[in-house]
């Protein structure tokens, strides 16, 4: 195979090897990605203009689905809950930094401590949801027991419309904080020790040191922590489905959960309406995606 090709005039492939090879290598990945990710985005946008039960004939309804959304109080609740998720989920970043600072020492056994602190991230959200729903049990739960020590009454976190969403977010913060912690531990490892020493000689310490010397050097870690936390917040589905299934009274729904409910659950197969909800969620995400891509683009150009 290698011996015959030498003396003959070089074939088309040989002449264009550098130009063609990347496309051959890209073809399978692009094909899969187009079929399963890129096209479906546009199909969903298209479906959102139809009234469709997933089986029968789809009927074009224009913007009717979106008009209906504007008056749908369940949609409004979901949207608000998404904002709550976005804001409170971000607490994982400072919490992760705090734990990382706490663990960034060299004492015996610290490596085991670090991996055990990271442990919750490896668990599936389904398991995290179960564990936390027991933690919140109204009478027998650990939380109610702990509150009783302080003389506070039993609290049914997941049964209370005002508290339920915060209870679920708290459960989500557990693995997410672990993730941010590991990002910051890696970042702290790479902090330039000479700069720290120089700042120390200049009298910087404690908060000042952290704010003016350390955090600026942790910027790459912060960026990634921000990206994964925002995405995690907008993707929240598993925990809600496991812990409350949207209740009580639909007060813990978020857009991703409400969409699923409308399109696939026992409440009927309203594919078009579900797609419209998904499009709204997508547009919210798109703002962040555009920002992330813009930051990455600047990086690439800067190289």
């Amino acid at each position: 195979m290698t011996t015959t090709s030498e003396p003959r005039p070089r074939g088309w492939y040989k002449r264009n090897e550098i130009a063609v090879t990347p496309w051959l290598f890209l073809a399978p990945a692009i094909l899969f990605f187009l079929v399963y990710v890129i096209f479906p985005i546009f199909q969903s946008i298209n479906i959102s203009f139809y009234d469709w039960d997933g089986l029968g004939e789809a009927r074009w309804v224009g913007f009717d689905n979106y008009v209906e959304l504007a008056d749908d109080s369940a949609f409004e609740v979901s949207l608000w809950n998404n904002f709550k998720w976005l804001i409170f989920y971000l607490l994982a970043i400072p919490a992760g930094l705090f734990i990382a600072l706490f663990l960034n020492q060299t004492v015996t056994g610290i490596r085991i401590y670090k991996s055990l602190f990271f442990f919750p991230f490896v668990l599936s959200q389904v398991v995290v949801g179960l564990v936390f729903s027991w933690f919140y049990l109204p009478n027998e739960g650990l939380l109610s027991n702990a509150l009783a020590w302080f003389g506070l009454g039993p609290l049914n976190v997941l049964g209370d419309p005002t508290w339920a969403t915060y209870g679920i977010i708290a459960a989500g913060l557990w693995p997410q904080t672990a993730y941010c912690m590991i990002l910051y531990l890696t970042g702290l490892n790479a902090v330039d020790p000479e700069q720290v020493e120089a700042a120390r000689l200049d009298g910087a310490k404690g908060w000042k040191m952290l704010w003016y010397v350390i955090i600026p050097q942790l910027k790459p870690a912060t960026f990634i922590a921000f990206v994964v936390t925002i995405i995690g917040a907008l993707r929240s589905f598993d925990l809600i489905s496991i812990m409350t299934n949207g209740g009580p009274f639909g007060q813990t729904r978020v857009l991703s959960f409400y969409m699923f409910e409308k399109a696939l659950s026992e409440y009927g197969f309203r594919m078009g309406y579900g797609a419209a909800i998904a499009v709204v969620l997508f547009l919210i995400m798109l703002m962040f995606i555009a920002y992330f891509l813009f930051s990455m683009y600047r990086e690439e150009k800067g190289r």
């Binding site: 090897e17 399963y36 055990l116 027998e140 557990w174 399109a263 998904a278």
Partner: protein, 282 residues
């Protein structure tokens, strides 16, 4: 180093730190410890209200025996492996090739295609749900492991390509140029020059994707139903419906379901963390 090494602090502060460490860890893992204790308790502990005390008898063998021999759990576990392992192989293979193309060659639409993968990886699942479910139905793959695997491969390729491309970019480019000067065919450069250098990236990505896919719940619910093809994350909910309020069995089931990625993490810790934190430092 920041914060200041504890060894330079006073002995009192040092011993304070050394006691604070285990206390903080126990508080942090308290929910998990509780489930572990639940899983070895006898059923009557829950009827008598002994939720958080010591187990009145040690029933690990009975509880885990129930999970393994008296439920669909082994079936769900097997499904999870049959879904996760092909996905890992497929996604890593596709993205290694794509990453090679995007990392080594300079052509006009390079960055555009790269950003397509990156952007697609951030998309909310729900916008894909209806069309992907439809496509899977049309191909006759609804409620099959293959249908789930194909989608997972496609979606994970986004993140994996981002990862691989950045890893390949960091390799020494003169190595590839040298091979080209020698007249080595491009696919041989991929196979014999680049691939051996990528072992750490392949390992890191494999353990990460294993965990992500094992823990997937949403797509399992959307694309499958019933014990013949559902993975364990979806199966655990029907398991729990079967043993409603049997906390000892639900705990044992959850621990069994969580075990493979946990083992993966502790065995391949270095690769796992390297994969997660790629890009966290410059």
């Amino acid at each position: 180093m920041f914060p200041r090494p504890i060894q330079t602090a006073s002995p009192a502060a040092q011993s304070l730190y050394k006691t604070a460490l285990p206390v903080a860890l126990i508080l942090w893992l308290l929910p998990l410890i509780a489930v572990a204790v639940f899983s070895i308790k006898p059923a009557q502990d829950f009827t008598t209200g002994n939720y958080w005390g010591a187990p009145s008898s040690f029933e690990a063998a009975h509880n885990y025996g129930q999970v393994f021999f008296n439920s669909d759990m082994p079936r769900y576990m097997l499904n999870s492996f049959l879904i996760t392992i092909p996905t890992v192989i497929g996604a890593v293979a596709l993205s290694t090739m794509a990453g090679f193309a995007l990392g080594i060659y300079r052509f006009r639409s390079n960055l555009l295609i790269f950003f397509m993968f990156v952007a697609g990886n951030f998309v909310p699942f729900q916008i894909l749900m209806v069309p992907v479910r439809d496509l899977t139905l049309d191909m006759g793959l609804y409620n099959t492991k293959t249908g789930l695997v194909l989608f997972h491969i496609a979606f994970q390729t986004g993140f994996c390509t981002l990862f691989m491309r950045n890893f390949i970019r960091a390799l020494p480019f003169p190595l590839i140029e040298a091979a080209r000067v020698e007249g080595v065919a491009e696919w041989r450069i991929f196979w014999y020059v680049v691939l051996p250098l990528m072992k750490p990236a392949l390992a890191a990505l494999a353990v990460l994707i294993f965990t992500f896919i094992w823990n997937d719940y949403f797509w399992a619910v959307v694309l499958t139903q019933g014990p013949e093809s559902q993975p364990v994350t979806a199966g655990i909910t029907s398991f729990n419906a079967q043993f409603r309020a049997a906390y000892h069995l639900m705990s044992a089931g959850s621990i069994v379901a969580a075990l493979p990625p946990v083992l993966m993490f502790f065995l391949m810790q270095k690769h796992f963390i390297a994969g997660l934190t790629l890009g966290a430092v410059k």
